[in-house]
Amino acid sequence: MSEREDTSTLAAAVDHNRRTERLTRTWLLAPALVIILAISILPLGITVLYSFLTPGTYGGVTWEFSTDSYVQFLFQRDIFDDTLVFNSAYLSIFLRSIGLALGATIGALILGFPTAYFIATKPREQRNIWLFLITLPFWTNLLIRTYAMLLIIRDEGIINIVLMKVGIIGSPLSILYTDTAVFIGLIYSFLPFMVLPIYASLEKLDFSLVEAGYDLYASRLKVLFHVIVPLAKPGIVAGCILVFIPGLGAYITPELLGGGKKLMIGNMIAMQFGASRNWPFGSAAALILMALVVVVLLVNALATGREARSNG
């Protein structure tokens, strides 16, 4: 066999290997991709389609193009002369949701950062236990946790009973079914999402930098805000996004703790598919929510991109 022939069979073998590898990979990926494309991504396309249709009389849609759903978000059509009047009802639900989600993010950050720091400064062998303690509640049902919170903050709940027994308050604080209740519930639900990424970035923190700060006569606060926080920034940003996005779309928390009166976007969308039977409007609202989420993610991606460029 000549040397030339040898290399060509080798090349053919390599080529064959590559082809089988590609084939294997395709088959291995197929089930996961097919299921997610069919049951998660295709439906999003249908949602886009539905948002441009006309509501059916008994729910569902009639196949008639209309942009009414998007118009309805901001305006109300006058029944008599068909003019559009600005209507802030839906907009205010969106704004309240954004406000509550932002508030919960800040609250979770104020509680979560010190907690992550506390864990990161524990001896290495203890850290896993602490982390486990933080994540364990996350794996217990969100609905049940929210219900448990309801038991605590209602008028006859533990908090009020203790406060009244101690004599701090004379009559129970009415927290349940207010924005405060939803706010507390959101922090409680998503707190672990804040702690974990911040911990991940603090764990890598080099404490000799902190020591250098002290050597240069920086105060504790200065060291915290000029050394530790900047180094933990990726974790802080990740945590804020992880709390803000599910907070924005929350359904159970406002449903139980807001008593169905303090609506958020999630409840409003669900309502359009239930009692209100306006699927196109529900779809449009869901897409506006998605757009908000995408904006948050894009802003983050751009910011991290710019930072990486300016650092590199």
Binding site: R25, W27, L28, L29, P31, A32, L33, I35, I36, L37, A38, I39, S40, P43, I46, T47, I110, L111, P114, T115, Y117, F118, L133, I134, T135, L136, W139, T140, N141, L143, I144, Y147, A148, L151, I152, G157, I158, Y188, L191, P192, V195, F207, V210, E211, Y214, R220, G249, Y251, I252, E255, L256, G266, I269, A270, F273, S283, A286, L289, M290, V293
Partner: protein
Amino acid sequence: MVRDLKAMLGFNATAWICIVTLYLPILVLIAFSFNANRSVVLWTEFSLDWYVKAMDNDGIRNAAWVSVKIALFATVISTVAATMAALATTRTKRFAGQGMVYGIINQPLMIPEIVTAIATLSLFALVKRMTGLTGIGYLMLAHAAFCIPFAYMPIRARLENMTLTLEQAAADLYAPPLKVFTLVTLPLLGPGIVSGAMLAFVVSLDDVIITLMVAGPGETTLPIYILGAIRRGITPEINAVSTILVAVSVLLVVLLFFVQRRMQR
């Protein structure tokens, strides 16, 4: 001057407040599920009455059975699909479109659940109208889809930490690829697959929003039953069922913790 480098004023206290806040509500719930009195406020004495009542309740029993059926189906489908996908993304060379594959697999995690829920409902309504098929299959498929990323994460992590040496050694000893896979790769991957399956099971068992939107008549899972019961009014029976569900999740996650600890060694 000597000072504790790492200490920050008030940080320890905040951390403890966090831990207490995370656990206090759940502990109160559990405690009052054992209360003899109907009250969810006043403690009288220890009793298992509410558990007996909950077990006797047909609605709860049916809901529990529906939950387990769906969770088992979703776990098997999502774990198999996730294992295959994880092998494809870690055991072959980097390929064009790999980023997109990651994006698609993680997609159910990045979209607010309520959006996934109504989108899935829209699709299934369309399919139902076209085919006339109804049944619990829709719910099972929906669960399988959103469980995939949860199963995928630990399996992929495990694969990335496994060196190829053992597999290559087996191949050098003329083991055919299928034998290498079943006798070497799969046993090594075992803990990852177990973790993935447990996560998928817990996630399916706990889902509310997607189930609420997609479920047809008579397809009540345990969380949906609990939600309905809370809306009708608080009873200690709910505390008992909730405690059981919490116990199941906690048990699985504690098991998972030990599986992962073994994995690290």
